[in-house]
Amino acid sequence: MNVLEVEGIEKRFDGLVAVNRVAFEASRGEILGLLGPNGAGKTTAIRMIMGIIRPDRGTVRYKLNGGWGMLDKRQVGYLPEERGLYPDARVLDLLVHFAGLKGVPPREARDRARADLDTFDLGAWANRRVEQLSKGMQQKVQFIAALLHRPALVVLDEPFSGLDPVNQEVFQNLIRRLRDENVAVLLSAHQMNLVEELCDRIFLIHKGQRVLYGTLAEIQRSTGEHVVTLRISAGPVDPTDLGGLLDVRQVGDRVWGRLPAGVEPAAFVRGLPEGLPVDEFTIRRPPLHDIFVAAVRGGTDAQ
């Protein structure tokens, strides 16, 4: 069930188009990845969704309280890309204040904040000042603040930046839990491996415009390409022997290459020379990282 419908939003700053007629939707129980290179217009799009700035054109519709309507800020959680907490405030007071602005009564906010701080192993830091916390801890506090009012739609802008692998996993699990709790999650991140693991659908924006949109499988299929990996024990191989494979790279006994659109994997396999000493052979759709890079460099224009 959709909770967010973005319809042709556009935003200009001093004549420059930051977001150009972008449209997508997000549903409950789904994680939608909002991807794009730096300066692509992601944060501007997010700020329009969050009601922080108004679109010059287009509309954003929300279904957060049963019917379609205006933005109810109490139903939306936001973790901005640029982290910002009051450095001299105490952690618990800060969380209660932010939850209060979202309409949560102080006592309830206090109880929830204590429980959430315990989940993140931050229970002992509840009465410390924010400035006494490490950067990773502050990020967790901000994450808690974004969710303390139990929103129906959560927008996470770069939640993994600056986190160590252990905490990345903690955050991943929490984001999955949000999906399980039927929350709609809009996730913007640069870590393609994490996006691949987490996101149900992906929206790629570049130069303010939609470049790719769909499930990972749909996007991968839309490229028409495959990535081929070979391990060949008998020393270097002549690329011309791997008929049809493009951008061939060879390191030690490993060989990588790109099978362009229109070349059937089965045909490629049949075309391999007799007696090629293959120890390992994989053929799969390109990873999101490659699709992203290709799309941003203008190689892919699939929708």
Binding site: R47, M50, G51, I52, I53, R54, K73, R74, V76, Y78, P80, E82, R83, G84, L85, Y86, P87, D88, A89, D93, H97, F98, G100, L101, K102, Q142, A145, A146
Partner: protein
């Protein structure tokens, strides 16, 4: 409004924990007490130490004996010197603080030269009266008149002002209005600027994005102005309370002399004037990039409530002059001007209500304007806004609101 109150409460509590604010809240009255109790003692001590010796060169020979009889002043002592050159040397050597030259020629012209080392030095207070009395006595005697009988006849009189009009202001009422006018200027300098710092800090730390994802810019701005307004008012309340307690030591009747009506009016102007400054600072904060670029603007906003101070003597002398009344209707000057005016004259009620209404409306419009600028300016990181850009933002914001 609920969000504004939450923000106000948060800013109030957060700021009260700030050591600098706590210090200025409680250190200032401490200084006030110190000044009011210790200073008179110190001044008395200093004046005792400061007794100067005045040399008297009396060429007439008749004035010195009369002067000698009258040397009963803590501020100076007189010493006869026969030779003017010796007196000048003693003056240069700082053995004498000044030299009186009494001569027949001088007296004929009505002049007694007083030598000093530099132009900045003046005769000690009371010396003129002492010299005049001595010379008058000598002249009477030389004219063959009975000195004891004539002296009381030629003695001067003092003018003592005694207000007789009913409903005029008591000293206590005057002190409250006048004191609040100065405190308004002081509080604007010390506390109101904190609003701007807070707005800029939220902008640079990006906390504002979280806040604006929960509440509107207007709620945030109103909350901030109210929160810091409450801090400033609390601070001044502490100061005034301490001042009144300290003053009651010297003026026992001060509490009963205060009229509730005057206090309400004075506090009303103070609160509205303070909110004006706070709103101005909030507007500047929304326009500025960082604290560095804001420092210059602070000075001109801080000076606004102080402008009537430059013409304070005219306001006190002509509180009902047309231009003074007009100044009361110019919002940036309303609070200070009206506090001064109400301190010295009875201002008609309609004028008080009208000026308060103008100021209150300006405060409200200013907060709304600040919110508009804030809405666009807050997210325009990395640059301060020119007034032209601000105008464009306001128009854009209005267009978007339609």
């Amino acid at each position: 409004m609920r969000s504004s109150l939450l923000v106000a409460q948060w800013e109030f509590r957060k700021t009260l924990r700030n050591r600098a604010v706590l210090l200025s809240t409680f250190l200032f009255p401490l200084m006030l007490i110190t000044l009011s109790v210790v200073m008179p003692v110190v001044v008395e001590g200093l004046s005792r130490q400061g007794t100067v010796t005045i040399g008297v060169v009396d060429e007439t020979g008749s004035v010195w004996p009369e002067l000698e009889k009258r040397v009963d002043d803590a501020r100076f002592t007189l010493q006869r010197v026969d030779d003017p050159d010796a007196a000048e040397r003693a003056l240069v050597a700082k053995e004498l603080g000044g030299v009186l030259l009494v001569s027949q020629a001088g007296l004929a012209q009505g002049v007694v030269p007083y030598w000093v080392r530099g132009v900045t030095e003046t005769p000690p207070a009371g010396l003129g009266t002492t010299v005049n009395e001595a010379i008058r006595t000598v002249r009477l005697r030389e004219a063959g008149l009975p000195v004891e009988e004539v002296m009381p006849l030629v003695a001067g009189v003092s003018l003592v002002a005694q207000p007789r009009v009913q409903g005029e202001r008591s000293v206590a009422d005057f002190a409250v209005s006048f004191g609040l006018a100065f405190l308004l200027v002081l509080a604007t300098l010390i506390t109101a600027g904190v609003v701007m710092n807070s707005v800029i800090a939220e902008k640079t730390s990006r906390t504002v994005e979280i806040l604006l994802s929960s509440i509107t810019p207007r709620d945030l701005l109103i909350g901030k102005v109210l929160g810091y307004g409450a801090i400033g008012i609390l601070q001044v309340a502490v100061w005034v309370a301490v001042a009144l307690v300290a003053a009651s030591r010297f003026l026992p009747g001060i509490w009963t002399a205060l009229s509730p009506q005057s206090v309400v009016i004075a506090v009303g102007y103070f609160v509205l004037g303070y909110l004006f400054s706070a709103s101005m600072y909030a507007l500047l904060g929304a326009m500025m990039r960082d604290l560095q670029s804001s420092s210059q603007s602070v000075s001109w906003v801080a000076i606004i409530p102080a402008v009537p101070l430059f013409v304070i003597s005219f306001i006190i002398q002509f509180p009902d002059a047309g231009w003074v009344r007009g100044m009361g209707f110019i919002p940036p000057f309303t609070a200070t001007t009206m506090l001064f005016r109400t301190a010295v004259t009875s201002v008609p009620l309609w004028e008080i209500l009208a000026t308060m209404a103008v100021l209150a409306l300006t405060d409200y419009l200013l907060v709304r304007l600040a919110a508009k600028v804030f809405e666009v300016g807050m997210l325009m990181y990395g640059k301060s806004a020119s007034p032209r850009e601000v105008w464009r933002w306001i128009r854009r914001s209005q267009a978007a609101a339609r």
